[in-house]
Symmetry: C2
DNA sequence: GCGTGTGAAACAATTCACAGCG
DNA sequence: CGCTGTGAATTGTTTCACACGC
């Protein structure tokens, strides 16, 4: 099964399965059925089985899936077993919160540089990092080997900074700015926008 | 067109259109075509037209859409013209960042109470609020009229707190905890989980 | 001509239902 | 018997293509 044959919706569900399996393994559960896993993550058992079937046969008929085995398979598929360096652009309140968010570290993501173009912020410490000027972007990306960047700048700056990131060799962006980015198709962009989420939920209220 | 006839994917795109139209209106642009709007938000022009057609006929043939008119229509559809009170549970680093996030205010959302069950945190000021104990939940929801809650607690606590929110009358939850919530179908839950986003992007790298 | 609104066609995702195996 | 893996059927979404009006 080639990467491009797997629908993107499937890829976006795998982390939910992985998270759930990780909790189950921590609790010492050894086996899980597609039914039980589906109940936890909120999808049908058929969907779980179909999703997994894109990548192989991980279960045993009549029994279910071995929790740690499936967890490790998903880790490999998602490359969550690797350590990933991340460059963060934007040292505002959000940037601070992200640097101090422990979950990155525990899931193998390493926020290894923080940059900002505000001279007031450059040089200030955040966590055990120091804010670097935007001129250091290419150097930061090379030093850290980062392929992923987190964009936590104001909307007006987002497109321009995103282009600089791509020019510096970044391949994937997690964008917290409330702005759609127009970038080459091979760059992967994920959007996190609580306002957009809230606006779609108020439609239903 | 009844609420339930509109696919949820469409509802999730409307905020992106609204955001873009708002920027365009600020810049003084008076008219926009589905083509141009699509280029900005990254969807096809046919999709824009189809999405809007669920709610009415807002454009003019040969011309396009009047920016402020369409913006106001979308605001009404999404109920983004109303002011919404929000109760925030969780006064950790994330809770602090959310309270200080100015975009809520500017998009008509009012973070009107913050709660936490940690006695150390209760009573502390955040922005111009003061952290209240979880026992005040029902009172907070009633005082503020909140129908929406933001959940910013550790994963272990999320399900339990979510149930308390529902019992207190909350109808929609924006969940920052890395945990799927199992709740009655009429409760609307949106998930924000940067780790899950990162894990799906590393699949492609 | 240009650009919307919309059925029809194409494509994509989910669910069904069951063969097959432990 | 229980539960996976999977084609087939169903359901949902996007794109096409064109009539219509400015």
């Amino acid at each position: 099964m080639r990467r491009t044959d797997v629908p993107d919706v499937v890829i976006r569900r795998l982390p939910l399965y992985l998270r759930c399996l990780t909790y189950m393994a921590e609790r010492g559960q050894s086996v899980v059925s597609s039914q039980e896993l589906g109940a936890w993550v909120g999808v049908s058992s058929a969907q779980i089985r179909k999703d997994l079937s894109y990548f192989g046969e991980f279960g045993r008929q009549g029994l279910g899936y071995e929790v740690t085995y499936l967890r490790d398979q998903l880790r490999t598929i998602l490359q969550a077993d690797k350590r990933w360096s991340i460059v963060l652009v934007g040292a505002g309140a959000l940037g601070h919160a992200l640097v101090n968010y422990r979950a990155f570290e525990s899931w193998n993501y390493d926020l290894s540089a923080v940059l900002d173009n505000d001279p007031e912020k450059v040089g200030q410490p955040i966590g055990d990092l120091r804010v670097r000027p935007m001129e250091d972007l290419v150097a930061s990306v090379h030093e850290t080997g980062a392929k992923i960047a987190i964009l936590a700048v104001p909307a007006e700056a987002a497109q321009s900074v995103a282009e600089q990131l791509v020019a510096a060799g970044i391949r994937a962006i997690l964008n917290y700015a409330p702005m759609n980015l127009v970038l080459p198709a091979e760059i992967h962009v994920s959007y996190i926008d609580p306002i957009a989420s809230l606006q779609s939920t108020t439609f239903y209220l």
